[in-house]
């Protein structure tokens, strides 16, 4: 195993004319029940007016702390949550409203896929790896049994897994290997955009490096667009070329990743950067101007 990605993979991602993702004025309001018996409701704004667009082959980081709304954006993009306002276009097609038919859902599935954070709950524990990927191939593509088998081996190889590992149940794989399977399953649909929701956050440092390299390899080869959601700024620098910083549902800064991490303009972005431990880091210093975070906690 390792970083061996050596299949002469052809570019499976279809060519698009416009941007891969266009989001304008995205908004999500949750209704929270409060009071005794949950009779009274109040509205909680999780995301307010997020707009961005992402070209094919590019990678956009969405950065923020818990409660910033970054995962809510991911869920709206892939259709797990419905947006309360604003528009989402993926691969040139609108998906602001829920899919009306199964075929519409399937088509959206072939345009955008997602990889979640926790590798231990991302796979059906009863399904072998091969069957897992086979199911997706059957759903999206018309292939013969033989072609599918070939494609499964190809996909496993692409994410650095052996044919033999395709035969086992998820419980026989480590966290890093399971995350590779989740990536292979997403790739099986040959989407134009891949959403990675804290996809490397739960992994050990040495495994994290493997998966980051794998993701960069795949993007280079397939020209897929990434939406990379993370709280880890160092990882974001490694995987993305544009970044959007979210705080309490509001975009506080967006632009080139290099620029945001090297010369942040927003105070909150600066605070985030100053909070990352590194050699010579003194927590006391951060605490002195931590009024921002203190207030956000109450």
């Amino acid at each position: 195993m390792g970083d061996a990605v050596h299949s002469a993979e052809t570019d499976h991602v279809r060519r698009l004319n416009g941007p891969a993702v266009e989001v304008a004025g995205l908004r999500k309001v949750f209704r929270v029940s409060g009071g005794v018996g949950g009779r009274r409701h109040r509205d909680f704004v999780a995301v307010e007016g997020a707009s961005f667009s992402l070209e094919q082959g590019h990678s956009l980081g969405i950065v923020g702390e818990s409660g910033s709304g970054k995962t809510t954006i991911a869920r709206m993009l892939v259709g797990i949550d419905t947006a309360s306002g604003g528009s989402i276009r993926v691969a040139g097609r609108d998906r602001s409203t829920p899919a009306k038919s199964t075929s519409e859902r399937r088509r959206r599935g072939s345009e955008m896929q997602i990889v979640f954070q926790d590798p231990y709950t991302s796979l059906d524990p009863r399904q072998s790896i091969n069957r897992c990927i086979n199911e997706v191939l059957k759903l999206h593509r018309t292939m013969t049994e033989n072609e599918r088998r070939q494609r499964i081996i190809e996909l496993l190889d692409q994410v650095g897994l052996t044919e033999h590992q395709g035969l086992v149940l998820p419980k026989n794989l480590s966290g890093g290997q399971r995350q590779r399977v989740a990536i292979a399953r997403a790739l099986a649909a040959e989407p134009a955009v891949l959403v990675l929701d804290e996809a490397v956050s739960a992994l050990d440092v040495s495994i994290q490096a493997q998966i980051i390299n794998l993701l960069n390899d795949i993007r280079e080869r397939t020209n897929m667009a990434y939406i990379f959601i993370s709280h880890n700024l160092a990882v974001v620098r490694q995987v993305t070329d544009q970044t959007l910083v979210l705080r309490k549902g509001v975009v506080v800064e967006q632009g080139d990743t290099e620029k945001i991490l090297d010369a942040p303009e927003n105070d909150y972005t600066k605070l985030l950067l100053a909070s990352v431990p590194e050699p010579g880091w003194k927590p006391r210093r951060v605490r002195a101007d931590a009024a921002l975070s203190r207030e956000s906690e109450i």
């Binding site: 290997q177 490096a209 620098r237 605070l271 010579g280 109450i298």
Partner: protein
């Protein structure tokens, strides 16, 4: 000279699936008064289990051998009552998830004063006042209001501060902190670490700090012990560790983390995955992933060597010239 905490040749076996499995092997480490020692490692390295052993909080049927001494007194063979007393007065633990460690149906005030009122027979009002003072010390404003609130009304960062306050109430000489900030946001983490740092300075408290984050450990501790597969493979100061790591695993770990300030063309990665002690082959547990492996590595686990003030367990430690960072685009890629 007596150490505050001395762990010597500690080995622990636990029952997993009805079989005994090694989780710690030959672990030796000391913590001095007012010193912060970090245990750093990936999953399965045994870092948490080391801390739990110190408080005798092993799962049922766990087997432990070796020595643990606190302030010169051996804790091995202590009775349940003695352990309880030790935990109630000398050493305390802060866990990763404060929400799981605080009873959700009790008010913060009741949680904090329970031990004082019941174990020490302190007056309730006096205890509440103590608790309020401590909450202010750990950076919680409006402490009297917080004491009347329930855990679900507080954020994770707040609760972790309450946990720290509860530990301070017993005024321990040693705090064992098991990934206390891993579940928190970075800004909150910085804040909580600052609180711990202040307390250590003011109260001369020693700490055994467990984390997977090398940077965090480096920023906060006096010495760092790197663990792999149940062994401590290297003990060093943060500066020394970053300037010249001695164990290939430490070096690889330092290489493979992404950098905040520059993008690496390709992260140097360690092939394979971190092993648990029971999965490790005989000899050095890192041999299968090590770029410098030699035949003798599979023959025996190297004994601890003292090199330039650091302790390392590697056969080739004295001949290897390892560095902590690789320039953009450079470095070896193993795999």
């Amino acid at each position: 000279m007596t150490h505050l905490l001395q762990i010597e040749n500690l080995s622990v076996d636990l029952v997993v699936h009805r079989r005994y499995r090694k989780v710690l092997q030959d672990v030796s480490i000391t913590v001095e008064k007012a010193e912060v020692v970090s245990l750093v490692g990936e999953s399965g390295s045994g870092k948490s289990m080391t801390a739990r052993s110190v408080l005798s909080l092993l799962p049922a049927q766990g087997k432990m051998s070796g020595g643990i001494a606190f302030d010169g007194q051996s804790l091995i063979g202590a009775s349940y009552k003695e352990w309880q007393k030790f935990r109630a007065t000398k050493a305390a633990m802060i866990f990763q998830d404060p929400r799981a460690s605080i009873n959700p149906v009790h008010r913060i005030g009741d949680f904090l004063t329970e031990a004082l009122v019941h174990n020490r027979g302190m007056d309730r009002h006096e205890a509440l006042e103590r608790a309020a003072t401590l909450l202010e010390q750990v950076g919680i404003d409006d402490a009297t209001r917080r004491l009347r609130q329930y855990p679900h009304e507080l954020s994770g960062g707040m609760l972790q501060r309450v946990m720290i306050a509860s530990v301070l109430l017993i005024e321990p000489q040693l705090i064992l902190a098991d990934e206390p900030t891993t579940a928190l946001d970075v800004t909150t983490q910085a804040d909580v670490i600052a609180v711990l740092d202040d307390l250590r300075a003011q109260r001369d408290m020693a700490m055994l700090f467990i984390t997977h984050d090398l940077e965090l450990a480096a920023a906060f501790s006096d010495r760092i012990a790197v663990m792999y597969a149940g062994f401590i493979v290297e003990v060093s100061t943060p500066a020394q560790l970053h300037a010249r790591p001695l164990h290939p695993y430490t070096a690889a770990l330092l290489h493979s983390r992404p950098m905040l300030h520059e993008r690496t063309a390709r992260l140097p990665q360690i092939s394979g995955r971190p092993l648990s002690a029971f999965e490790a082959p005989p000899g050095c547990p890192f041999q299968d992933r090590c770029p410098y492996v030699q035949p003798r590595c599979s023959e025996s686990m190297p004994q601890p060597l003292l090199i330039a003030g650091s302790i390392v367990r590697c056969h080739r430690a004295s001949e290897l010239e390892l560095v902590s960072t690789v320039g953009a685009g450079g470095g070896q890629t193993h795999g």
